[in-house]
């Protein structure tokens, strides 16, 4: 097994065990999405109209829950020192951790989103768009989040600052994602998914470098 897949597998394994946070994020997402129709009321038209935005915001917030631990757990118990000295560059370490985070958080959220779409009376084509937008967009949330996780690495309770750093950076993802769902709902053509794909690709390509730089900064401290 290569060093990259060893780290990926370990992080996936840890996220599935106690304190891992993968099930927590999924539960949070499902509960917020279930509460929302109860709060908004039974107007089916209104529910379908807000579904894209609400589910996207809920997905981003749920993904954030476990993001602050992306590097911090390893930093606090000294594993990060050992990982940093491995043959893997910190850029690849960041990439492996982002990928593990997406596979354990973003992907499960995406997979249950069609089910939650039913609660919002979302028609089939719009549900498909929602599913695709989350599939394309949640890797970007993990990627951008990794930068924030690296920056807040040495802060106690850094989890509270993390959303303030990365939520503004994620506004394009929320806008493109929910706009694509709305457009499908109205039956009009939209570039939302393509723009989201561009944003996600850029985030996934650039973030490993930024995250590695911020981790490097904190290893010295």
């Amino acid at each position: 097994m290569s060093a990259f897949s060893a780290l990926l597998m370990r992080d996936l394994r840890l996220s599935g065990r106690s304190g891992g946070g993968a099930a927590l994020a999924l539960g949070f997402f499902a509960l917020v999405a279930t509460l929302m129709p109860l709060g908004i009321g039974a107007d089916l038209k209104v529910l379908a109209r807000v579904a894209g935005g609400v589910l996207w915001v809920a997905a981003v917030l749920a993904t954030l829950l476990s993001l602050d631990r992306l590097f911090q757990g390893d930093f606090e118990d000294g594993s990060l020192d050992v990982i940093a000295l491995s043959p893997l560059s910190l850029e690849n370490v960041s990439l492996a951790k982002m990928l593990a985070h997406f596979l354990s958080t973003g992907l499960p959220l995406t997979l249950i989103s069609p089910l939650l779409g039913v609660l919002f009376n979302l028609p089939g084509p719009a549900t498909l768009t929602l599913f695709l937008s989350l599939l394309i967009g949640t890797p970007a949330v993990s990627a951008v989040g990794a930068i924030g996780a690296g920056l807040t690495l040495s802060l106690k309770r850094g989890g509270l600052i993390l959303p303030l750093i990365i939520l503004p950076l994620l506004t394009p993802a929320v806008i493109f994602g929910s706009a694509a769902v709305s457009a499908t709902l109205d039956g009009i053509a939209s570039d939302g998914l393509w723009l989201l794909l561009a944003f996600s690709a850029a985030a996934c390509l650039l973030s490993p470098f930024a995250a590695a730089a911020s981790v490097r900064l904190n290893l010295g401290g």
Binding site: G73, D77, G78, P87, G220
Partner: protein, 201 residues
């Protein structure tokens, strides 16, 4: 293999506080070096500096290896076996999962079960690390150090939490490492009972 490690006029500062300055030493293949000093003297900082986590305030560290020489911290890190004062173990993983992960991460073909035997954790192989005592955790960290197969060992208080049998194990591993041509630097506040030159911070 490393043929030498040289520190020239090395100084280290954390914030405005200068921890040490004008530090010189030279180590050759098979040599060990103890770093002594009171709490807060900068022993751990020196190790982190050698590992490339910290940049020196001034001075040079030159590593000459068979495949060339370098004074780059990140490149130096790829020759280093690290035993920090924290053991770097995950409570949720079993002893064996933990060690196999490190072996794969370091692309080492070392026999992990053999290393566990050597450090006396063969019976605890399937225990999650949260059930281990502080001394057993230290032993697992030692097994990781063996499996990493790196030529330059940096040990931070290697005897911490170990019983007398564990201390003997550390000395045995250190002796074997040096005999095989490796280098090691051990930071300690108490004598290690191991024949090696010492620098005092």
């Amino acid at each position: 293999m490393i043929s030498s490690l040289t520190a020239e006029n090395l100084s280290c500062a954390r914030g405005d506080r200068v921890l040490f300055e004008g530090l010189n030493f030279r180590m050759e293949r098979g040599q060990a070096l103890a770093v002594e000093g009171a709490n807060g003297a900068g022993k751990t900082s020196l190790l982190r500096l050698i590992a490339g986590f910290l940049a020196p305030k001034s001075g040079h560290l030159l590593l000459i290896a068979d495949n060339g020489e370098s004074d780059d911290g990140e490149e130096r890190g790829k020759s280093i076996g690290w035993l920090g004062h924290q053991d770097g173990l995950k409570p949720q993983l079993t002893v064996r999962e933990q060690l196999s992960f490190f072996a794969a991460l370091y692309e080492s073909s070392e026999n992990t079960d053999g290393a566990l035997d050597e450090v006396g954790l063969a019976r605890q192989k399937h225990f999650p690390c949260r059930f281990l005592s502080a001394g057993q955790r230290r032993r697992l960290a030692l097994a990781r150090l063996m499996v990493s197969r790196r030529p330059l060992w940096l040990l931070d208080e290697p005897l911490a939490a170990l019983d007398s049998e564990g201390e003997a194990l550390v000395r045995r591993l250190m002796t074997r490492h040096c005999q095989a041509g490796g280098l090691l630097i051990a930071a300690t506040h108490a004598p290690l009972d191991f024949a090696m030159p010492a620098i005092r911070l």
